[in-house]
Amino acid sequence: MPSLKDIKTQINSVGSTKKITSAMKMVAASKLRRSQEKAEAARPYSSRLEEMLSSLASSAASGEGIIKLLTGTGNDQNYIVVPVSADRGLCGGFNSSINRETFKLVKSLEGNGKKVQLMLVGKKSRDFFNRVMKDQIIESYVDLNVSSTGYESALNISNKLQELYFEGKFDKCILVFNKFKSAISQEVTQQQLIPLDVSNSEKEEEKENSSNAIYDYEPDEETILKDLLPKNVSIQIFKVLLESDAGEQGARMAAMDNATRNAGEMIDSLTLKYNRTRQAFITKELIEIISGAESI
C-alpha cells in the first residue's frame, strides 16, 4: 500500500499538470480567435479570385504554358501529395489523422501504379514521413509561423510547386489538410490543387452568366488567366495554411480542455484514496492501542 506521503506527492504533481494544461487551453483559445480572424480576413480575396477564375475558366481551350495549371498535363502518372500538419504536438489527433490519411492516400495511389512524391508542411508530418517514406520526400517546410508571415510562406510553397510542375516533375498535386469546421471539430480533407478543379464552381458560373452581362476583358482573357492561375495556387495554399492553423488551435484547445478535466477527476479520486488511507492508518493504530490495553 502506498504511504500517505506518496499519494500527497502524486496529488501535487497532477495538480501542477492541471495548471499547465489549463494555461495551454487559455493560450490556444486566444490564438484560435486570432487565427479565425485571419482566416476571415482572407476570405474576401480568395472568394473573389475564385469567382473571377470560374468565369474565365471556360475560355481556356488549349493547354499550353501556364494554362496547364488549369487543364492539366494530360497524364496522371506522377503525383505530389502535400500534407499540412502543425509544428507542435499536444493537440489531440490533429497531426496523426493527417499523417494517417496521407499515408493511406499514398499507398492507394501506389497500389494503382502511380508514382508519388511528398512535399511536407509542418514538423509533425516531416518527422513522421522521415521515418516511413524518406526517399519520396522532395521538400519540407517547417516553422512557417502562419499567423505573421503566412502569405510569404504560401508564396514560397506555391513557387516551388509551380517550378516542379513546369519542369514536368508531376502531373497532379493533392493537398491533405484539416478543414476548420468549428472550434472543436476538424475534418481531414483532400483537395486537388493542380490541375485546378473547377467542377464545383461551374454551376455557380452558369447561374452568374444567366443573370450578369458579359464582361470586357483587358488586356484579354488569356492574359488575365495567365496572371490569375499562378496567383490562385498561392491563394489556395494560403487559405489552407490559415484553416489548418485555426484548426490546430481549436484541436489543442479541445485536447487541453479534456486533459484539464481528466486531471481534475484524477485529483478527486486521489484525494479520496488519500483520505481512505489516512482513515485506515488511524483505525489500525486504534486497534493496536486497544488490543495492547486489553492484554495488560
Binding site: 479570385l49 476583358y217 483587358e218
Partner: protein, 132 residues
C-alpha cells in the same frame, strides 16, 4: 451625384471598403478611370497607384499596389492586389536603397522586385492625378 462602391482587398485583409466618387486604377494596358455606371470590365493590373476620390473630386486616399486584378461593374469596383501600401507611408530613401540592392543581384525574382520597386519610386514622385 451617384457613388460607386469600392473594395480594395489584399490576401491578408480587406483594406478599403466604402462608397466613393471616382477611382483611378493602373490597368495593364493603361490607367482606368472608374465612375459610377462603368461598363463591366475585368482587368489585370500593373504596379502603380490606385487613387480614390470623393464625389466632389477630392482625393480620399491613394495606395500603391504591386499588381493584381480589378473587376468592375456599374455599381461596384473590386481590386484584388497582392501587396498594398498607403502611398504616404512610403519612404523615398528606403526605396532608393532597395533599388540599389536589387540592381546588384541577378535573378528572375529580383528583376521582378526591381520593377515593382521602380514603379513604387515613380508612384511617389509623380503628382498627376492628385487633382482631377
Amino acid at each position: 451625384m451617384a457613388t460607386i462602391s469600392f473594395d480594395l482587398v489584399s490576401p491578408e485583409n480587406l483594406i478599403f471598403n466604402d462608397d466613393v466618387g471616382t477611382i483611378i486604377i493602373p490597368g495593364k494596358d493603361g490607367d482606368l478611370g472608374v465612375l459610377p455606371g462603368h461598363s463591366q470590365v475585368m482587368s489585370s493590373l500593373r504596379p502603380g497607384r490606385v487613387m480614390v476620390y470623393r464625389e466632389d473630386k477630392n482625393l480620399v486616399k491613394s495606395f500603391f499596389v504591386s499588381g493584381g486584378f480589378a473587376e468592375i461593374n456599374p455599381e461596384k469596383c473590386i481590386v484584388l492586389a497582392e501587396s498594398v501600401v498607403e502611398l504616404n507611408s512610403l519612404d523615398k530613401s528606403s526605396i532608393e536603397k532597395e533599388i540599389e540592392e536589387l540592381g546588384s543581384k541577378e535573378s528572375k525574382e529580383s528583376e521582378e522586385q526591381l520593377s515593382i520597386a521602380k514603379a513604387k519610386l515613380e508612384a511617389i514622385t509623380v503628382s498627376f492625378y492628385d487633382k482631377i
